[in-house]
Amino acid sequence: MASIKAIINGKSITAESGMTILQAARANGIHIPTLCDHPALSPFGACRICLVEAEKNPKLLTSCTTPITEGMIVHTNTPRVIEARKAVLELILVRHPLECFSCASNGKCELQDVAYELGVKDSRFADPGDTNTSHKLEDANPFYVRDLNKCILCGRCVRVCEEHAIYHAIDFQGRGIHTSIQPPVGSPIEESDCVFCGQCVQVCPVGALFEKTAAGQGRPWDLEKVKTVCSYCGVGCELEVNVNKKTGKIANVTTNYSSPTALNKGRSCVKGRFAWQFVHSEDRLTTPLIREGDTFRKASWDEALSLVAEKLGEVKTKHGSDALGFFSSARCTNEENYLMQRLAREVMGTNNVDHCAHL
């Protein structure tokens, strides 16, 4: 990669050829606020929050789409730039409901962040009745809720569906103020091509898309991310399990598009993202059980383990090692499978150990 020299805010920087102004600024520790930009998605240039000025260029430029060029002199904080950003932000806030208090995205809302950064509390242009109320809350499926009244039309969901899920289940529809993000005309999300991988939910910068099951499970600042691998198919998607530090329970599961270790590159499917509630299911086994006639009774670990050891030993003594069979599990870890076959081979003396590889 050829290297480029430029100046941002009076500071000499180097960037790789092909980088946008935004990427170059970030690489050099210079912050430019953004909304429609997302590192995993193609640049879109829609929200206009990232506008900057470049000398010799009469127009304001979106830093997310404009390539940085040799010798470019960029200013990210001139009065003209700040004014344009404020105007744009206040235009978004004309219709955006300011109900942050109850919003699922409070604390991780990027619109909030930009407003805070620019010192904007509300919109100079908002008139009574401007707040968006025209869309009904869409919550027919068990995975996510669409609250289009909060949508800022950044197009991230459209792009992630197109570029990562590769479904293009949704797109912009309508024009002007009636523009909205929809599946093809006439069909609800549930009957569209959407496969509920939830990637749109993850990249939504505001509260227009939120996980149904995450509601009430913890504010963003309550959550701690634990990096792990999905428990379903063999792809081995890297997931982040977000645990509420207060309750010790899982609040939701997300992915990380920027993780260098993620074989899935941040992608996910409906199971990986949404099918985790079984962990906290009411009917989880919590104590060892020992059969008594047609029912089970609770037992201590000590009692149960003794019984297991005793009975396995008994079968071995009475009928020989090969009268025992061990079913291991492709759901368990390598370590556990390893131990299972050692239990069978080394401890009990049989090769009758298998798992469901073929099922």
């Binding site: 640049p43 240039g45 390539p67 004014e83 105007a87 024009r175």
Partner: protein, 597 residues
Amino acid sequence: MALYRAHVLICHGTGCASGGAPKVLEAFKEELAKKGLEKEILVIATGCHGMCEFGPIVVVYPEGTFYSQVKPSDVAEIVEEHLYKGRIVTRLLYKEPLSAQKVCHYKDIPFYGKQHRIVLSNCGYINPDNIDEYISRDGYQALGKCLVEMTPAAVIDEMKKSGLRGRGGGGFPTGMKWGFCAASPGDKKYVICNADEGDPGAFMDRSILEGDPHAVIEGMMIGGYAMGADEGYIYCRAEYPLAIKRLQTAIKNATEYGLLGEDILGTGFNFTLHIKEGAGAFVCGEETALMASIEGQRGMPRARPPFPAVKGLWGKPTNINNVETWANVPRIIVQGAECFAAMGTEKSKGTKVFALTGKVKNTGLVEVPMGITIREIVFEIGGGIIGDKKFKAVQIGGPSGGCLVDEHLDLAVDYESLTAAGAIMGSGGLVVLDEGNCMVDTAKFFLEFTQRESCGKCVPCREGTKKMLDILTRITEGKGVPEDIDRLLYLGNQIKDASLCALGGTAPNPVLTTLKYFRHEYEAHIFDKKCPAGVCQSLLRYSINTEKCIGCTKCARNCPVSCISGKVKEPHVIDQDKCIKCGACMDNCPVGAVVKG
């Protein structure tokens, strides 16, 4: 080709066609057959003559007699008198509005006298469905010249020398644009004709496509040759079914003649052409949105760079010009760049086609040399203001443009002068406004259009034009507040500065220019709650002049909400709280006692 003693050209432009031209043509064929003249006289359906106000138009050659507003019932007389006996039917001649004199010949009509028809030279003169007629008027000669005698670089040089600039609105030098695309590396390139004409009231491109489709096709092929493109798309709005039909016929005929397809004229040059019908979204006239639409995606503009010349349709280098630009190309090649460059001003060469509408006597399509004054267009070609009212402004450039006023009447029209005055050349919409037009209402009309057509992608255009429209609406409803003018100025400037594409970037122009020249009208609405032009309904007040009222009760009887009271033969009074400002009282008053204001 058979020889005929006379040709009857019947305009089949959209205006004339909807005015009954096809029936007139039928009638001619019938009458001529009755008289046994069908072998002597040829009847031709042509493209637009431009004088749409006076259609259907029939021109009889060789003498060029110009009949206007011809009905099927007039045809027998024209055949009997003119074509059989050689006597002109005076009553059907065009009446010149200024002098009120009948004008016999096409060339003597002032509407045409000031025009300089290059792009429109074939429109109304040839049968657009007959390729032979195009060829007989030097058609495809330019293509032959390019393929056989000129290198691609020489063609581009010629375009540069001509000084032709994009007629779609931006005015970018065409030769330079071609040069970029030609220099862009890639073994596959495209040329596109932007025929997504969407400005309200504009029909320049439509008339060219309907009247002379081969000129556009030939221009595109020359461009394809110059830039190394072997495939082209004409992106035409689906609302132009006639233009699409004519293009389809033209492409079919040109292909049959070996003028399109492989190894054209035996030179090894290949070129195929597709028509893509657009769904009528205004924003698809923006070139990146247009390409997205051809690719089957939603028509939404994207940021440039990369420019289409580098990464265009399907990611390949692409050149987009509009209909009028392409139609100029063959003429420049045939007549030479110098000839073209001899017309116009220093930086704007050649001619420009305008759709002249609004409050002028002659509305229609006009082609004028660059550098002509607004006065000449409005008062000479347009014949002045209807009802001889007072000229107020012209709105040039449609929803992206701005208004020009009295002081600009002698402005020589070219790209630079218009931009300097706050308007733009645009694609050529020219609306004449008189004292009866409210400028706030006019600005609102254009804002409504841009808001409705905003693709919704970028915030300033989507949200900003809506907010400006809200403010304009409340001003026209008498609910404006003093800060609204500053808000409009602020929002207008921010939207211009921050929008993604030209649609948003120019959307505030109608507001900003009317504020510049007619701020007092805004103030009248806001502070005095009055619409000086008497247009904004909410601000109207009907009252009865008691001096004049004769108490005939007609007003009261015609009032739909019964808000007028008064005894017979005594002055009547309007209850302002109940009045819905429909104007019925004013229309019915026999003595003019009802006043509006």
